[in-house]
């Protein structure tokens, strides 16, 4: 019998240390950018959650911010009402976002791509408006203030320079990345990829497709909720923009830019997007929109599979 070729093993490659070492190095190299960096880590976690839903399960969504916002408001409201312990806040935010994801998932697992886009877009708008109207709870357009965070482990306070936030968001991102990576290499991850590749074939293997998609969507929502909670906790504020459409659109762009369905694409895409936005928007906001538009067109026509996809293609060509 011939030897079996490689399968998803979940084993770590040495090169995978690079982004994480880089993230740690940035703390010392760019002390003035620690707050921005923690925002990048949060957005990367959000993009990672979308990668599960879109990159693996193949569910197109324009309303992923709904779960980011649910998590943000949950953590924010907890802290505003005296529950300032960060980790339990994250857990509760994940639970609420997961419940929201579970509810919405039943609307999206059956539909076509177009139906999914419309339903997720609709849910996103709905939640935004609900949060806007419920000003007594959420603060409406003024945002939720009075978010008072406790200390990390009861020791480290969230400071203005973003030192604690940097370590906290990076650690949570890493922990959930390890978890997601494990899920991706598992039979469950394999079955999601198969559904993405050929959904119609899966029932013929005996696979309960809808149940799998419900699980993937709910898990993605929970992780998005954690990302939102991180933002609420580290900025000690929750604005309506956590639920805004542009957040759903941006995260989609970040993921596609980096390369969907490969986990690291979420990290790379987010870092490139946010650093470029910070640089270019500083010069001229219109300038940024222009380059972003050009970039999007270029990805589709030149670099299928995003930055990492292009890198893969280049490496294969060099090896030949």
């Amino acid at each position: 019998m011939s030897r079996a070729p490689a399968l998803p093993s979940g084993r770590w490659h040495a090169a995978e240390a690079i982004p994480w070492l880089l993230a740690i190095a940035c703390f010392f190299l760019f002390p003035g950018y620690r707050v921005l960096a923690s925002h990048v880590f949060i957005a990367a976690l959000f993009a990672l959650s979308l990668d599960l839903v879109l990159g693996y399960a193949g569910i197109l969504t324009l309303g992923h911010a709904a779960f980011f916002g649910l998590g943000a408001y949950t953590a924010g409201l907890l802290a505003a009402h005296g529950w300032g312990e960060p980790f339990s806040g994250l857990a509760l935010a994940a639970a609420v976002a997961a419940l929201g994801g579970l509810a919405v998932s039943f609307l999206v697992v059956r539909g076509t791509d177009l139906a999914r886009l419309m339903v997720t877009l609709g849910v996103g708008l709905l939640l935004y408006e609900a949060a806007n109207r419920a000003a007594w709870l959420t603060g409406g357009v003024d945002g939720l203030s009075g978010v008072a965070m406790g200390k990390l482990f009861g020791v480290f306070p969230f400071d203005l320079f973003g030192n604690a936030a940097y370590a906290y968001t990076l650690a949570v991102l890493f922990a959930l990345f390890v978890f997601t990576r494990r899920v991706a290499a598992s039979p469950f991850g394999l079955s999601l990829r198969a559904i993405r590749e050929n959904r119609a074939r899966m029932p013929a293997l005996g696979a309960p497709v809808e149940r799998r998609l419900v699980a993937a969507f709910t898990l993605g929502a929970a992780i998005a909720g954690v990302a939102g909670a991180l933002l609420a906790q580290t900025t000690q504020f929750v604005g309506l923009d956590t639920l805004a459409f542009h957040r759903s659109a941006d995260v989609l762009v970040m993921l596609v830019l980096g390369g969907a369905g490969r986990l690291y694409g979420a990290l790379v895409g987010t870092a490139v997007f946010m650093v470029a936005q910070d640089r270019l928007a500083g010069i001229d906001p219109v300038y940024w929109q222009f380059w972003l538009g050009l970039l999007l067109v270029a990805i589709v026509f030149v670099a299928r599979g995003g930055i990492l996809g292009a890198a893969d293609a280049l490496r294969r060509r060099l090896r030949r």
Binding site: L7, G10, R182, V183, A185, N198
Partner: protein
Amino acid sequence: MTPALRTEHLTRRFGALEALGDVSLAIASGARHALIGPNGAGKTTLVNLLAGSLAPSAGEVYLAGERITPLAQYRRVKRGLVRTFQVSSLFGGLTVLESVVLAILEREGRAALWRRPVARCTVEIDEAMALLGELRLADDAGRRASALAYGRQRLLEIALALASRPRVLLLDEPAAGIPAAQSAEVFRAIAALPAAVTVLFIEHDMELVFRFAERITVLAGGRVLAEGAPEEIARDRAVREVYLGTADA
């Protein structure tokens, strides 16, 4: 003995077109049963109705005596009713091995596990490699399904079905469009199935049909035209007129 698979007055309409009308047939347990008929006779529609990927307009389907008409397709697979597709339906971006390992994990009900990497499912991997070896696909195990030549894709299509360990196997033109040498290989794999497995196969090559089938059902225009042992079918005048006469060319 209870037939492995039975239909009662099975009917399927597409708008005004009746693709299948009032089909009642029984397939004996362990039989090698051929389904033949000209193009558009309704053969694939019948397989879709049996497998559950299509709902009937009327009629019933029974698996081992139990009514399964309302059962979802994946639940029928869990009960051992497995089908292949006339046009290969594969997971293009997955490797051959990944595809077969997945099929085995689904059969075992372990495909939703998330704590263990696929590479550590060694029992499933060994079984998959053995199956691929039998189908002479082992050398392609690491290639993407989309990168396979057409004939190999047909073999993978069958490997996926066999990985589900069917009790009743529905084969929709398993050898369609592949060279004769390879179609013999396909049928050798089918012949090697345990005798207890019931096989219903659609095939246009009459030589293969008469070599493998113990019973033959002839469909034409969505209706059962004749049913019987190969000798009877070969002698049947209506069949010769409607089907064999025209399809020989």
